[in-house]
């Protein structure tokens, strides 16, 4: 297999060239650039509301685009839409399969989606004619569990799956429009850019990939993590990507400079990151960990500025509302907490 060996050598060579090229573009570190920025000081957020109602582990939650509605999915087979300010349940949707791993709220507020070990993404219409919430579509074509899904609009949705691919679906016809293949491990999470032109996916092959939705190809790949990437998100200006991994670190990658800018780690944090969210200005990064806490980082200075402790089990999902006012954490102890 002389050819295989040649190809492999060429690949290693190219990878080295890329690393070298990245180094030449690295003419400054964030520490230097942010040296003049004032320190944020200790950030203390308190629990304002606790949303009780789920009976089993909560695996995912997502805020709606208005300020107070959010949807959460739990392994008791229920998808609950909460009005967070009054803690009322607006909808409690029973699911066909209770092994749900993700949920999403459409930007229009009309639809919610969920999926999990049934390999399907089920779309529910919240604004049905007679007020009942019914399944609108079941998108089935994945050969692995659904790890994350995000709406682009009422007609398109992107899903990531354990079969290492991400797929763009057309909801009206229920078919796959584009398959984004390239990861070598289970794709665990995805995030959509603020202008809806790109999306990023993090996988168990320790890399994150940036995909162009329209051109259907992978634009950039970011490596550097030492373990599975569990959570991923865009920086609010859409030019940088934040990833959280099982190796207990979060990394900030820049899309235009095509490299890692900063790593958020601390020797006293040993538990993997399960979920992350950034505050509206991008100054604070909230990361949920296996050790039941959420750590708050100052993104520019890479220092820990706070801890949210209040859950009795792993923090599985975290989200900041669209106006940036509150952050919601969901945990395996079946409670959602709103912090402010």
């Amino acid at each position: 297999m002389g050819e295989m060996e040649e190809l492999r050598k060429e690949m290693e060579n190219l990878k080295d060239q890329i690393t070298a090229a990245r180094k030449t573009f690295q003419d400054s570190t964030l520490q230097e650039a942010a040296a003049g920025v004032t320190v944020v000081g200790r950030v203390q957020l308190k629990t304002r509301k606790t949303l009780r109602g789920h009976l089993a582990k909560i695996y995912a939650m997502h805020w709606g685009t208005d300020s107070t509605l959010c949807v959460s999915a739990s392994q008791d087979g229920k998808l609950i839409v909460w009005d967070t300010i009054t803690t009322n349940k607006v909808n409690a949707i029973p699911l066909k399969s209770s092994w749900v791993m993700t949920c999403a709220y459409a930007p229009s507020g009309n639809l919610v989606a969920c999926g999990g070990l049934d390999n399907m993404c089920s779309i529910y219409n919240l604004k049905g004619k007679d007020g009942n919430v019914k399944v609108m579509r079941e998108l089935a074509a994945h050969t692995g569990y659904l790890s994350c899904c995000r709406f682009l609009s009422d007609t398109e949705i992107i899903t990531s799956s354990g079969d290492c691919t991400c797929v763009l679906w057309d909801i009206e016809t229920g078919t796959q429009k584009t398959v984004f293949a390239g990861h070598q491990g289970d794709a665990m999470s995805l995030g959509v850019s603020p202008d809806f032109k790109y999306f990023i996916s993090g996988a168990c092959d320790f890399t994150a990939k940036l995909w162009d939705i329209r051109e259907a190809e992978c634009r950039q790949t970011f490596g550097g993590h030492e373990s599975d990437i569990n959570a991923i998100g865009f920086f609010p200006n859409g030019n940088a990507v934040i990833t959280g991994s099982d190796d207990a670190t979060c990394k900030l990658y820049d899309l235009r400079a095509d490299q890692e800018l900063l790593t958020y780690q601390d020797s006293s944090i040993m538990c993997g990151v399960t979920s992350l969210a950034s505050s509206k200005s991008g100054r604070l990064l909230l990361a949920g960990h296996d050790d039941f806490n959420v750590n708050i980082w100052d993104m520019l200075k890479a220092e820990r500025v706070g801890v949210l402790a209040g859950h009795d089990n792993r923090v599985s999902c975290i989200g900041v509302s669209s106006d940036g006012m509150a952050c919601c954490t969901g945990s395996w102890d079946s409670f959602l907490k709103i912090w402010n």
Binding site: S28, Q184, D254
Partner: protein, 478 residues
């Protein structure tokens, strides 16, 4: 519906926590030489190498320079994973910051030893305890025992034989050694088979499908594709990191006062005071926006267009300048991009007639090449057929019109008119009152109906005015 679950191989079970466990092991090894142990009496027997919770937590605080609470949490994590086990209250896996007694678990029973606690091993353990003294098992253990007896019935003779052997071997040890080994084994099983309704640190959730530890053969084709990708990656244009860092810095600084986590919001944060004024003042349809909102419009064209109230204001300005067709085209293109597939052909036609045909009522001024491409694409309209034209128009607005808008009297006027609400200053009694009288807010269905009504109005208004028909109507009225 088939649910496909991967067979957990030995390594997969610990995979999610491998990293964490390796680091913990390093800490435990250090701790073993750092924390002093002593001999303690426990139920008549003297047990060597016993440590107190106080000492462990003091050592952790010293090593990691953390607060006492964090050290306590870290200590509890070590107990929950089974590296340290309590002697007195063996069922409660918590590290207490007092003189409660603990011992280091023997490395044989550490979680990273890469073997999963098997059912048959557990059955042997329970059988052994049963032999020693009937009725010693806890209710949950008894339930497990009965279940395993049924499940492993075919192996039961083997299991009982093993249990008897181990029991006999145990009797031959010296009493202190036997007690120590019993404690270790008991601790190991409490961690791996916890009683019901307690959560176990070993809970790892759902298993992965692909095992990256396996050396899978990457096919020839994949190599070629990867190499192509890397070649393209080298040639792609990159920006110096100082530029990106500057941009990040600038963004964070610009939005600093608009981040509710960092700066207070006026009049008051609804989460803190249970008063909805902030949301009512910032609603979509409000006549007079707040100062902060108006400031956000000046940050970028993207922000201005994203906020529908801002878009309205921009439209007012454009009407004065008689250049509203760019924004109208941009909005129409957005509708095409996100609309239903069935409406696409009709929308494409309307857009063509209104904006692109030479001599159209709202003709947009884009360069010849883009125009040619777009018109050709409209023969077979799809979601992104207007992408090139839309980007061109957006850039036009961004580089030229947007800045003129910021300097215009329209913007200055709205800046003056904008509200700067007084900060609320609620007394504790008033806060109580607020919490009890919280309004349920406007039901989302009503908001949605309002939005639909507005869309219908906008659609009706944007139909190009047929001048001839209007003139003839006026003539007829006369």
């Amino acid at each position: 519906m088939t649910i496909r679950r991967a067979r957990p191989d030995r390594l997969q079970h610990f995979r999610p926590r491998m990293h964490c466990l390796k680091k913990l092991e390093a800490v435990v090894v250090e701790m073993q030489s750092g924390v002093k142990g002593s001999e303690q009496k426990l139920n008549v027997t003297t047990i060597p190498h016993v440590i107190t919770g106080k000492d462990v937590i003091a050592w952790i605080t010293n090593k990691m320079k953390s607060t006492t609470e964090e050290s306590e949490a870290f200590g509890t994590m070590l107990v929950a994973y089974g590296y340290i086990y309590p002697l007195q209250n063996h069922r409660k896996l918590v590290m207490c910051n007092d003189s409660s007694l603990y011992r280091f678990q023997t490395p044989y029973f550490w979680p990273t030893q890469k073997w999963v606690a098997e059912d048959s091993d557990y059955a042997i353990y329970l059988a052994k305890r049963n032999i020693r003294k009937k009725g010693l098992l806890e209710p949950y253990e008894q339930a497990h025992y009965n279940h395993l007896h049924e499940w492993l019935n075919h192996k039961w003779d083997f299991i009982v034989m093993q249990a008897t052997e181990q029991y006999k071997a145990g009797k031959e040890r010296r009493k202190p050694d036997r007690v120590v080994f019993d404690c270790q084994e008991r601790a190991y099983w409490i961690v791996n088979k916890p009683p019901r309704r307690t959560h176990s640190a070993m809970d790892s959730g759902l298993e992965l499908l692909i095992d990256p530890n396996s050396d899978e053969k990457i096919p020839f084709d994949t190599y070629r594709r990867m190499n192509l990708f890397y070649q393209q990656a080298i040639m792609s244009s990159k920006v110096k990191s100082s530029v990106s860092l500057g941009a990040l810095n600038k963004y964070v600084a610009t939005y600093k006062n608009h981040d509710p986590f960092l700066a207070p919001c006026l009049p008051s944060n609804p989460w803190l005071t249970d008063n909805d004024s902030y949301w009512t003042l910032n609603m979509r349809q409000v006549e007079v926006p707040t100062k902060m909102r108006v400031e956000r419009w000046s940050f970028s064209l993207f922000e201005l267009l994203r906020d529908l109230r801002g878009r309205d204001d921009f439209k007012v300005f454009l009407k004065k300048e008689f250049s509203g067709e760019n924004l109208a085209f941009w909005e129409a293109a957005e509708e095409l991009k996100w609309g239903t597939a069935s409406s696409m052909t009709s929308k494409a036609e309307t857009i063509f007639k209104t904006f692109l045909v030479p001599g159209a009522p709202r003709w947009i001024n884009i360069d010849g090449r883009t125009m040619g491409l777009t018109v050709k694409g409209l023969d077979h309209p799809h979601r992104y057929v207007l992408e090139a034209a839309q980007t061109h128009v957006f850039l036009l607005m961004k580089k030229d019109t947007f800045f003129r808008y910021l300097k215009s009297p329209v913007y200055k006027e709205i800046q003056k008119k904008a509200l700067n609400p007084e900060a609320h200053n609620f007394s504790p009694a008033q806060l109580e009152h607020n919490a009890q009288n919280r309004s349920p807010g406007i039901h989302p269905l009503i908001l949605w109906q309002q939005a639909e009504a507005e869309k219908a109005k906008a659609a009706a208004a944007s139909v190009p005015v047929d001048v001839k028909a209007l003139m003839s109507k006026l003539d007829r009225i006369k």
